[in-house]
């Protein structure tokens, strides 16, 4: 059993809004040792013109990962998560994510390519605010090793 390549090209409905919590931003920043004051101090962030503390550059993975579950946790897609390794990741920030944002994500399955015993699955999460303005694009490629690989 392998990955079902017919999932390529699929687009999922927008997720329910994800609320970016201030303490979650601080906890994520601490977990990657991001000590910049804009990640932690509301006052410092607001003095620089932000509405609230600024999420670290890779925080959007938290939101993207949730959306990607629609594909990864779908048994029909045939993705064995224990055999997954991360191949690459790209964030494009249309504007910085700040605490208090409510963000909805549309998951696209951009490609599924099988090479030898490895399937490469590329997903794209288009993250937007509640008004529909683009906030971030997260492109992720997972490599799924086959049983014999």
């Amino acid at each position: 059993m392998g990955v079902d390549a017919s999932f390529a090209g699929r687009e999922y409905p927008a997720t329910d809004p994800y609320q970016v919590g201030r303490e979650h931003v601080r906890e994520f920043a601490a977990a990657v040792d991001a000590q910049h004051p804009f990640h932690h101090s509301v006052q410092a962030a607001q003095e620089a013109g932000y509405l609230d503390i600024v999420a670290p550059p890779t925080f959007a993975v938290v939101i993207a990962q949730r959306a990607e579950q629609q594909l990864i946790a779908d048994p029909a897609a045939g993705i064995d998560f224990s055999r997954v390794v991360h191949a690459d990741e790209t964030f494009t920030h249309h504007r910085p994510i700040v605490a208090g944002d409510e963000l909805s994500t549309i998951l696209h399955v951009d490609s599924i390519v099988e090479r030898a015993a490895i399937a490469m699955v590329t997903t794209r999460c288009e993250i937007a605010d509640t008004a529909g303005n683009p906030v971030a694009t997260v492109v992720s490629t997972l490599a799924i090793r086959g049983e014999e690989a």
Binding site: A31, V32, Q35, P56, P57, Q65, S82, E89, F91, P96
Partner: protein
């Protein structure tokens, strides 16, 4: 440190380097904070069963941690417009102990029209490169 000025930057210029340390506790903390609870990042038995040499760091922990050198240089995390990494070699995290990752960042390209700089990152563990392309574009 004052913010960098576009006209004073030179392609190839080094903007920072540092060595960061990762132990199992850091991986558990990242698993909790990120929601990525894949057992390959905290369970030795599980990691070996799926053919890995042992517990490995989340690629996203590495990606999230090495960018601090850029954030600290540019002085504002909101100025990081894009960031891309290709993971080529997993970082095995021993227990007891820790793995040390060395990161160096330099200016890869300057764009006068958009007033942005491309920062190229190099990360090594035990002298071996752990990433392929690793680039961030920052606004100045």
């Amino acid at each position: 440190m004052s913010a960098p000025v576009f006209n004073e930057l030179v392609k190839g210029q080094e903007i920072g380097e540092r060595t960061i340390s990762v132990d199992r506790a850091a991986l558990v903390r990242y698993a909790g904070a990120s929601g990525d609870r894949n057992p390959i990042h905290w369970n030795e038995r599980f990691a070996r069963e799926v053919g890995l040499p042992g517990v490995i760091a989340h690629g996203m922990w590495t990606m999230g941690s090495i960018i601090n050198v850029v954030t600290d240089w540019i002085g504002d995390p909101g100025k990081i417009r894009s960031y891309t990494v290709r993971f080529t070699r997993p970082v095995e995290v021993p227990d007891p102990g820790s793995a040390e990752i060395h990161v160096a960042a330099k200016i890869g390209a300057l764009d006068e029209e958009t007033l942005t700089a491309r920062i190229d990152l190099t990360a090594t563990c035990d002298g071996k490169r752990i990433l392929g392309k690793a680039q961030a574009v920052v606004a100045l």
